[in-house]
Amino acid sequence: MTTASHKIFSFHGGLYLDEHKSISTSKRIESAPIPAMLVLPLSQHIGAAAKPCVAIGDSVLKGQLIAKADGRVSVPVHASSSGKVIAIEKRHVPHPSQLKAECIVIETDGRDTAIETEQKGLANYHSLSTDELRQRIHDAGIVGLGGAGFPSHVKLKPNGHHIETLILNAAECEPYISCDDMLMREQAPAIISGLRIMQQALHAKNCMIGIEDNKVEAYAALQEAIGDSDDIEIVRVPTRYPAGGERQLIYSLTGKQAPSQGRPLEIGIVCHNVGTAAAVHNAITKGEPLLSRIVTLTGSGIPQPRNMHVLLGTPIDDLLEHCRTHKENIGRTMIGGPMMGYILDSTTAPVTKTTNCVLVTHQRDIKKPETALPCIRCGECADVCPVNLLPQQLYWYARSQEFDHIQDYNLFDCIECGCCDVVCPSRIPLVQYFRFAKTTIWQQERNKEKSDKARNRHELRLERLEREKREKRERHNRKKAALKKEPDQKEDPKKAAILAAMKRVKEKQVATHVSPSNTENLNAEQQSKIDEADARRAEQHKDKNGS
């Protein structure tokens, strides 16, 4: 352990925010009861939605596969408790769009009977190949539990790159959220075990854990779990939002910048969340798929904020009820932290693999939204931008919808961390403008692709019609010319055409002839036999015609 003096590379900008984390870390992680109903969205990850492999009315057991992965960037979904499938339909899910999405709904039986799987956990996984490890991680339905939900098996494939460093993201920089902190305090050995498994899968030379310096207990727990190993380094980074942004953390620890629009993999670095590491540990050593996660229930609207170990698919309403939240006091419910989280309209939505925090704000704490004033170009936003963008210029171009210019100013490097929003004296919802610009550009590109295709099709059709017309005209002209010719002409044009065609065929035959035909180079005996047969045929032919 070389933790004493690791150089920290300081990323540009960022904000020191009020943490509000201690309100939810005073109690140990509590297990949430099995809900009466589980709502399991088919898409809890980035990539293609899983395909259901159960039908309504089927009985399912805990851990049973209920939806299969669809393609490479996809993961399966498992039943998180035993019961009966009562519906496969669109339900409210936690998503910024507030749209409903396809879910498998299970009525639980309360017995929580687990399925007997053939794939047993392996305490000694060292014999497994990289691909076997990745397959097991895929089969367990593991995605990045930090919030983005990218399928972990994809991120564990080096793709020909030499992986120098595997970084475990333990920063948890958003205010209020404390699920990773509590996980580290209580299950540090599982995290370290998961880290070792991922290290093996990636053949990573060394490992680093980046943790914000405000998590003292978690840091100590990890230190203890690491013991004397010297290939895992825990580095404390300053508590400055967004220290836990993947690129920001990589830079803080290594001084390397993951290329813009590229992946950290390209600079030999892979970054995973601590929760993901613990899930990998469970999947490999115990053979357990991802069925639950830790969720922070916090905010002024929750009487006793806490962290809970929740079965995936548990409706958020059940959790709020469990925490004795007065529904009439709820001013706003958010999924995720106050910076990058999103507002949830319907609390019937379930906890999914990416639900790290349910942030409930009391009605009395909701402030009236302020009206935005014109930008005064003070540049505060540029000073705090961790990507070193010029939000004041991006805003200008987003407002005037100059989408070429806005891309020159690197709109697509924006990580939507929200720092610029917080410091803006004119209270301009900058990130909202940038999201709008991004989606509009994407839409335009899709439309352009579509219209390009349509135009191509149209042009091809016009060409075809033109060709057909031309051919028709030519045929017509030929016919006309033929009719005009005198019938007493020496040669019948039809016959001539046939002759010409036959000649062409013959020429073609000669041209395409590759091997000598078996009627060439015959000896006398063969020739006589053929002659005989020909004569016989001629006889028969004559008979046929005669009769």
Partner: protein, 341 residues
């Protein structure tokens, strides 16, 4: 659609920013009033009333929220800056005309706060300087140099009944004196000890002016350390003035003004911390602000030294305002992940 914006309390606001810029002006302004008379305060009040009335009227015409917009404080700040830039004994209609021009032509016609390419106060100042050179260059000397300090009544008389008692108080600014004397072939050391102008010059720069400048410097430092202005513009501007004036002073101290007089004798401090830093019309990229500040410094020095006016700050600011968009375009910072890793 629900908008998802960060839900973190924040105290940042435009009116708050303007308010603190106002606080920062207090030491310099108090020194100015104390040393040059109550006329300064009268000019400030006249400017503020004019600014509020003008902006209010224009907002009504433009059908924009009046109270909310006036509350951002930017019109008042423009008014105060212009009032501080003109002579405390200028007739009342000078400041009224200048402020109205600054608000209407410098700001509202472009679309109000955030859209003006030029610093409104400096636009108003330059309009006045070109149109009314006589009234604009008639300055009082600091009290300590006068045999009789003007009373409140004298100040009002001077401002509202032009001409009355003006001879008793009027004089020239230190920079003006040197310029006039140089034009008449008298070199600087001679001016500094001349019977008619020598008493204008104090330990650092001009008597009275140096104290006012220090007051503005203190206010500027407050703004810097509370993060309300960026360091680049004042540092680059004062730095370039200091370097240029030092070089020329070392070459020939009889023909070129000393760096101290440059920094503390004119509007350098007010300009560097309060005028050049107006974010709307300045360059906005970190590197661009340095070039912008250097540009203002160079133009200020050039106009003071070789131009027709003793003080070149206003022209320098307007010239660099024009250059700001181009500077911004060529000084974009390297985005994270696009440079060398």
């Amino acid at each position: 659609m629900t908008t998802n914006t960060p839900q973190v309390p924040s105290s940042a606001s435009v009116s708050n920013l303007m308010l603190h810029v106002g606080y920062a002006l207090v030491p310099g302004t108090l020194a100015y009033i104390w040393l040059f008379g109550i006329g300064v305060l009268v000019q400030i009040l006249l400017a503020c009333v004019t600014a509020v009335i003008t902006e209010g009227l224009i907002l009504i015409l433009r059908k924009r929220p009046v109270a909310q917009t006036l509350a951002d404080g930017s019109a008042l700040l423009t008014a105060v800056l212009l009032a501080l830039a003109i002579s405390p004994i200028a007739p009342w209609w000078i400041i009224v005309l200048g402020t109205a021009f600054a608000i209407i032509f410098g700001k509202q016609l472009y679309g109000g706060i955030g859209y003006n390419p030029f610093n409104p106060a400096m636009l108003g100042y330059v309009m006045l300087l070109i149109s009314f050179p006589l009234e604009m260059t008639n300055w009082p000397a600091a009290f300590s140099l006068l045999e009789q300090t003007p009373t409140f009544q004298t100040s009002l008389d001077v401002i509202f009944n032009a001409g009355l008692g003006i001879d008793t108080v009027s004089g020239a600014t230190p920079l003006d004196a040197i310029k006039t004397q140089l034009a008449q072939g008298l070199d600087i050391p001679a001016t500094l000890i001349s019977p008619s102008y020598g008493e204008l010059f104090g330990t650092l720069a001009g008597v009275g002016w140096e104290v006012v400048s220090i007051g503005f410097l203190l206010g500027g430092i407050y703004l810097l350390f509370t993060g309300r202005i960026a360091w680049q513009i004042p540092a680059a501007m004062l730095g370039s003035i200091a370097v240029l004036s030092s070089v020329f002073y070392l070459i020939d101290s009889t023909q070129y003004i000393s760096p101290l007089l440059h920094l503390f004798g004119g509007a350098s401090m007010l300009g560097a911390f309060f005028i050049a830093t107006d974010p709307v019309s300045a360059a906005t990229t970190p590197r661009g602000r340095i070039y912008y500040g250097i540009g203002i410094g160079i133009f200020t020095f050039v106009i003071r030294t070789w131009g027709g006016y003793p003080e070149g700050l206003a022209f320098a600011v307007l010239l660099m305002n024009m250059a700001a968009p181009t500077i911004d375009h060529y000084t974009r910072p390297t985005v994270f992940g696009q440079g060398k890793s």
